[in-house]
Symmetry: C2
Subunit: 352 residues, 2 copies
């Protein structure tokens, strides 16, 4: 503390944080000297150590960060988080969540080192190693669409119920030959038709819940078969490949796409084959991304931005000492646009 130039130590601290505890004159003199000496003001790290607060919320996304920015849904989520973060004057720290393949010790470290006041965990598959690391930090945690963590708040939607509603819509229109397209059921890179067992052991809770919802509706209606195809991941390339694969292997009048990204890829793939939507192929998505409206996609709307807001608010509250854990379930809504209609008598979407 080089500010021995006149006054003593704590006075400097007061000058910055407690203007009331110092004489006006003293304060401005200190600030002037500081400016002259190029003293940058209280060091945030020192302050954090002392106060125990950092002023940053950590956000952990599945898979690698770089990919996350490809996902329009993530952007909406972050927007919501940023809105309340900005109001509360806290920063948003994106933590690099290591891929599962990486040896735990090496890169989970980075996460453990993250200087934040709490974590938000988005769409993490069950039993992902990162969860242990997060829990070990003993900081406030809020999961979003993630696993329910003992003693921590969670925000999400009723994925199963919403998916059920989407499937009912298709059934009501008369579709019986329907397939499901999901991004992935477990983070192991596998793609292609998914067996019952694979679905039963799915680690991606959101995808699993949506598949369950679709099946609920078909079971209700007494329509037995509902094949599930897995794209293998969330990226645009994987989504497109999954769409092509489904169209290659299945002869259906409609597809239940578990995300809008998949549905949009399906629309492209269908157009590439000269299939008319919805006459030859009806498509229903999930999420209601901005692009869905443009494409005229029938889909399930979920309030992604609000999800982010809620999560950030919940986390902030916990950080600030409000006790209690909350489970917030946000509403969804089926949005019917032009990509769904009654099936034509002969299915023209045939294999190859």
């Amino acid at each position: 503390m080089a500010e021995a130039v006149g006054v003593s130590h704590a006075a400097v601290s007061y000058a910055y944080n407690r203007p009331d505890k110092l004489s006006q004159q003293q304060r401005s003199r200190i600030l002037a000297v500081a400016a002259e000496l190029g003293y940058p003001g209280p060091n945030p790290t020192g302050r954090s150590l002392r106060t125990g607060k950092v002023g940053a919320l950590g956000l952990i996304l599945t898979d690698s960060l770089p990919y996350a920015f490809e996902d329009p849904g993530v952007a909406l989520l972050m927007r919501g988080i940023a809105e309340v973060g900005e109001l509360a004057q806290v920063a948003l720290t994106l933590l690099p969540a290591p891929l599962e393949a990486v040896p735990a010790a090496a890169s989970l470290d980075a996460l453990l080192r993250g200087v934040v006041d709490g974590f938000m965990v988005y769409a993490m598959p069950d039993r992902h190693p990162v969860l242990d690391s997060v829990l070990r930090r003993r900081l406030p945690v809020v999961t979003i669409d993630g696993p329910a963590l003992e003693g921590h708040s969670r925000v999400g939607i009723d994925d199963r119920g919403a998916a059920r509603e989407a499937a009912r819509h298709l059934l009501a229109l008369g579709h019986r030959d329907v397939a499901v397209l999901v991004s992935r059921l477990s983070p192991d890179g596998r793609s292609g038709p998914a067996s019952h067992s694979r679905i039963a052991h799915a680690r991606d809770r959101v995808m699993k819940a949506r598949v369950k919802g679709y099946r609920d509706a078909f079971a209700e209606a007494g329509v037995g078969v509902l094949p599930v195809v897995e794209a293998g991941g969330f990226s645009a390339a994987q989504s497109r490949a999954g769409a092509e694969m489904l169209l290659d292997t299945r002869s259906v009048t409609a597809v239940l796409a578990a995300t809008d990204v998949l549905a949009l890829a399906l629309l492209d793939a269908a157009a590439g084959r000269g299939l008319r939507v919805p006459e030859d192929l009806a498509v229903i998505g999930f999420d209601d991304l901005p692009a869905a409206a443009v494409a005229g996609l029938t889909t399930v709307r979920q309030p992604m931005t609000q999800k982010g807001q809620e999560a950030a608010r919940l986390l902030l509250n916990t950080i600030n000492g409000t006790p209690g854990t909350h489970l917030v379930t946000l509403p969804t809504e089926l949005v019917v646009r032009g990509s769904t209609g009654e099936p034509t008598t002969g299915s023209t979407a045939s294999p190859h």
Copy 2:
């Protein structure tokens, strides 16, 4: 340090950070006790205070954070940053940059408190108060498309040259009645036709440079008039309003849109009026966002992701002690698609 349970203080630290400096047995014993006691491992804040490093890169965006997530270009930039950051095992911290209107003292504080090892500043207008705060921190800084800061590295493109090339393309096609649409010249919310003086005093360097480039080409060609219309901001809504305004007030055969977001809005607005592109209206954008390819937009490609990568690398190097400041200028390229063509003899795009 409650770990007086057997060994002494620093040994615990070694157990976590320097396995080689401890006997295998000692180490595992410490770790076992830690697990039992629920000791979360070394506290990141304490470590940071001691080592002087945090493990996080700060990113400061113009205007408010929430809006930034609406901008597809920002997503690409962050993607690049995240790629490098993930490799280097550092987190990315998004700092809330206060709006200019807000009284400086209040919210610049949050920024000063940001616990990071260095800053990346994106597209900051000249003389924005946030710059002072950043500089005051005396941490490494890299600006992206931002003002050139004395002694700090910078990455950008040749906006003026690239814009010149875009304008030349239009001139070569035979267009003479052309208008420029920019998002904003200064962050004061003004929209509408921009006077020469307003352009000359523009604080948004990127927009200003592009306008200059457009003008260069028209001056070269001896075509005098090149009206500039300002949308007032970057948002989708403002872009659309700006596009409508331009179409309302100007009778032109082509528009030089200073960003793809504006160009895309223009395409929509034109479609809404039944104008054919490029026959009735030629449009050229800037950035080459993914959406530009889909829309068949002629535009200037700039490597946004690479911008992020370079900036992050530069910052990381500086943080790690590599001396020197660098000015990196990335290449651009004119991408001709379907939105530009020769003007038809009679301009059909008439006011109202």
